[in-house]
């Protein structure tokens, strides 16, 4: 018993300090205001829900960065659910069926996960900002700006595209391996009954990998609030406010707070508000996904 205690005591202490303690401090910080005086001393005072009000008012203020961040986060999430996941499932099915070039697809789609994000971002930005305009000029005789430095719409679509492409990695392997676990006998029986590939995909593969799919769907909900869309890697702290996501916006608040502690209470309040939204959303999604579960097993 003592051995077990000795084994876990250090991790427990770390957990208590760096997780529990930090979160309790964040909670309390959200209700305070920090002022730094000319002498260098600082003063902390209780301001109730002022920081929360400020955060919420910025969500609802016209043309505010936070409002754009909320909308953009929803768009990024919608793209991931409506485009990314269906494409992932289709590619996973193609790879699972070992159709022509499946190994090439597997490698190309998994590449962004293998390489460092920075390397991928730099390579991608070099390609879209230098090679694409050059190709546009050579092939179509058209002068065009780089896709990340030109007009806002082009930048927005390019960021979404990169997010979709770079998001394939681990999901692809998970879905493909989940599909590989489907018993061959089920697939063969379906074939004998004249089941087409599309029918097989929709009525056999998807229901049978539903547990994996629903887990991914559930785990992706916090990403609605955390995903930066690789904006920091592309633009540093200077991404156009109209491109920002909630994850990026909150990251900038933390960066600001690391330089000046007076900015931390606002960031804490924002974090708590987003948590208060994320929890019921996640629980609700779990309930919905459980309801939609076809409850087939093998």
């Amino acid at each position: 018993m003592w051995f077990c205690i000795a084994l876990v005591i250090l991790p427990m202490i770390q957990f208590a300090i760096f997780y529990v303690g930090v979160n309790i401090n964040s909670f309390v910080l959200a209700f305070k205001k920090i002022t730094i005086y000319e002498s260098g001393s600082s003063y902390t005072m209780w301001v109730g829900f002022d920081n929360f009000k400020r955060f919420l008012s910025e969500i609802f203020s016209d043309g505010g960065a936070l409002r754009y961040a909320v909308v953009n986060s929803l768009i990024h999430y919608a793209v991931s659910i409506l485009i990314n996941i269906p494409l992932l499932l289709l590619f996973a099915f193609y790879i699972y069926k070992r159709h022509f070039g499946h190994k090439v697809f597997q490698i190309m789609l998994y590449l962004p996960t293998i390489f460092s994000t920075l390397v991928m971002v730099i390579s991608f930005s070099y390609f879209v900002d230098r090679a694409v305009p050059y190709l546009g000029k050579i092939l179509f005789g058209k002068e065009m700006s780089g896709l990340l430095s030109g007009d806002l719409q082009a930048r927005y679509i390019t960021i979404l595209f990169y997010g979709t492409w770079s998001g394939f990695g681990s999901g692809l392997l998970m879905y493909a391996s989940a599909m590989r676990r489907i018993p061959e006998s089920v697939v063969e029986a379906a074939k004998l009954d004249g089941c087409s590939p599309i029918r097989e995909f929709l009525t056999i593969s998807i229901p049978l990998i539903y547990p994996t799919l629903s887990t991914f769907l559930l785990v992706s909900i916090p990403n609605l609030f955390r995903a930066q869309g690789c904006l920091f890697e592309f633009y540093g702290t200077l991404a156009d406010g109209r491109l920002q996501t909630l994850g990026y916006y909150m990251y900038l608040q933390i960066l600001s707070g690391s330089k000046n502690i007076a900015d931390l209470p606002y960031a804490s309040a924002g974090g708590l508000i987003l948590t208060a939204v994320a929890i019921p959303l996640t629980l609700g999604a779990r309930k919905l996904l459980n309801k939609l579960d076809p409850e087939v097993s093998y």
């Binding site: 540093g236 690391s258 330089k259």
Partner: protein, 556 residues
């Protein structure tokens, strides 16, 4: 067998990754006392520090700072990231050279040591009569006001005066005849096609034929350079005629362009008016509004207090800075194709700029910090290895003295904002490891503020420190041309510290830095070089005022 080999290979990879990345040929000398220094090894590097350390160690080779040891060994921890305050508290470094750190926050957290007595002590140990504080005040700018707390204490010493501006290729100006002549100066106002009239332009060799430049005086370092914004716009067109792309900047570090615009604003306003933005105490004399598309200045000055500080967003200099920027960004011919690309980091932008002449598309200006040449050392070395004429020693660059917004301002000294977030501190930790270094730390801090080492700093970095020190004419003539242009700004003009130690400013650091205080009009649009492509300078001027006015009550 295959699997075993793979496992062994992966294990070896892991082992190698555990080996310390930093190799050092120097070992700790147990016979000497150790002094540990942290250096933010970015734009200014550490070469100047190496020279200072060599001389310091030699000077104190026979001095005993602790029993059983003789001499001092200074260890420098060069890093490219700044430690946070908690990390500083736990480290053994006695001295820190820092940037972009909030000074007053460090004091409030007890991270920095009170070094007031060190600042006030004359440097007699080194044969000088002035103290560090004396040198700061003798320099005559606002730096001491910021670094001295309301209780009269010092916890840091300002480090460098690095600032952002328009760097220009002097060789290119000569080759493409981009210097202005006296004939240009004397031309009638509104004369058309001035960019194409040969008599107005020169290769710069005939000094007596050059225009007087922004300082309005002949025979000075800015001769032949544009005196006013209007002159500058003609120069842009001249560049196009001569096949030169005027501008390049880093799309990834596009904040440099905002810093440059901020300095345009500072230069217009001058020290007294500009410092109102931070002291909130005085009369603002050039507050303006846009009326019928024109800038109209208020008839009577406005008394500025903390209650109405947002009115300073209507300073005329801000409008002129916006109009200058708009002229550049609304014509794609005036900047390089890659200027806005986020793939263009500050270093790739320097490479694009330095290599531009080789591919037939030379670029005249690079918007960057005054430290850029040291940062681009590797590129200069690479180019110099192929052809010596492209090395740093052979090429001639300068920091363009800002043209004046109006002809009335020609002749006024330049005013520029130097780095307020760059300073050196002493670790306030009471640990034994730090405390035993204090005697050496004090001597080292004082030593690097002797005239000798202040000059070493300028010689090595090409930049200046906000203190009073001097070079002889011969010494300065031996420096690279770029250093000479920076020295001219230090010696003959005004570099100010755009900050104040009032609670309003300190507690709202982010809102009052040069990025946000100058040119942010919404939480969305922060970079004028981007939003001025979509809205006019006049519209931006109004939006900047409205934004600050609405934000002001939250800053109290």
């Amino acid at each position: 067998m295959k699997k075993k080999l793979i496992c062994v290979g992966l294990s070896l990879l892991t082992v190698f990754s555990c080996v310390a990345c930093r190799s050092t040929s120097e070992q700790i000398d147990e016979t000497r006392s150790q002094l540990y220094v942290f250096n933010y090894d970015a734009g200014f590097g550490s070469d100047w520090l190496k020279t200072a350390i060599e001389r310091f160690e030699a000077k104190y080779a026979d001095t005993s700072f602790e029993a059983g040891k003789q001499g001092v060994q200074v260890w420098v921890d060069n890093q490219i990231s700044i430690p946070d305050n908690n990390t500083v508290k736990g480290q053994n470094n006695a001295i820190y050279f820092l940037e972009e750190k909030d000074y007053y926050e460090g004091i409030s957290q007890g991270v920095y040591k009170d070094i007031t007595s060190w600042m006030k002590e004359p440097l007699t140990e080194y044969g000088e009569t002035e103290s560090i504080e004396d040198k700061m005040y003798a320099y005559g700018t606002t730096f001491p006001d910021f670094y001295k707390t309301s209780e009269g204490k010092y916890y840091a010493i300002p480090f460098h005066e690095g600032f952002w501006g328009i760097n220009y290729d002097v060789d290119l100006f000569g080759e493409k005849e981009l210097f202005m002549t006296t004939a240009f100066e004397e031309k009638s106002e509104g004369a058309s096609h001035a960019e194409s009239i040969p008599a107005y332009w020169s290769n710069g060799k005939e000094k007596s034929n050059l225009s007087k430049g922004p300082d309005g005086a002949a025979g000075t370092i800015d001769d032949g350079l544009p005196a006013t914004y209007d002159d500058f716009y003609v120069l842009l067109d001249r560049m196009l005629v001569r096949g030169v792309t005027p501008f390049h900047w880093s799309g990834k570090s596009i904040r440099y362009t905002t810093n440059m615009m901020y300095n345009l604003w500072v230069d217009y306003e001058g020290e007294e008016q500009m410092m109102l933005n931070y002291r909130m105490n005085g009369n603002a004399t050039d507050l303006s509004t846009i009326d019928g598309g024109a800038l109209v200045t208020d008839e009577t000055p406005l008394a500025i207090t903390q209650a109405n500080g947002y009115e300073l967003q209507r300073q005329a200099g801000k409008y002129y800075a916006l109009s200058f920027a708009q002229k550049i960004v609304t014509d794609k011919r005036y900047y390089n194709d890659l200027a806005y690309s986020p793939s263009e980091t500050h270093k790739t932008a320097q490479a694009t700029y330095l290599y531009s002449g080789l591919n037939g598309s030379p670029v005249a200006f690079l918007i960057d910090g005054s430290y850029w040449q040291r940062e681009a050392n590797a590129i200069f070395t690479e180019m110099g290895a192929v052809d010596e004429s492209y090395s740093r020693a052979s090429r001639k660059f300068g920091m363009l003295p800002f043209p004046k917004a109006t002809a009335k301002k020609v002749g006024e000294k330049q005013t520029i904002a130097g780095g307020a977030g760059s300073y050196m501190v002493v670790n306030g930790s009471s640990s034994a490891g730090v405390t035993k270094q204090m005697e050496m730390a004090k001597l080292f801090i004082q030593y690097i503020h002797t005239d000798e080492i202040l000059k070493v700093f300028t010689e090595n970095t090409g930049s200046t420190r906000p203190l009073d020190y001097d070079f002889t004419e011969a010494e300065m003539a031996a420096q690279p041309y770029y250093t000479q242009t920076i020295w001219n700004l230090h010696k003959n003009n005004k570099i100010i510290c755009p900050w104040a130690n009032t609670s309003l400013i300190i507690s709202n650091h982010d809102e009052f830095n040069d990025q946000n205080n100058g040119f942010k009009y919404s939480s969305v649009q922060t970079t004028p070089f981007e939003y001025l492509k979509e809205i006019s300078a006049e519209e931006a001027f109004g939006k900047l005022y409205d934004y600050k006015k609405n934000k002001w009550p939250q800053l109290g």
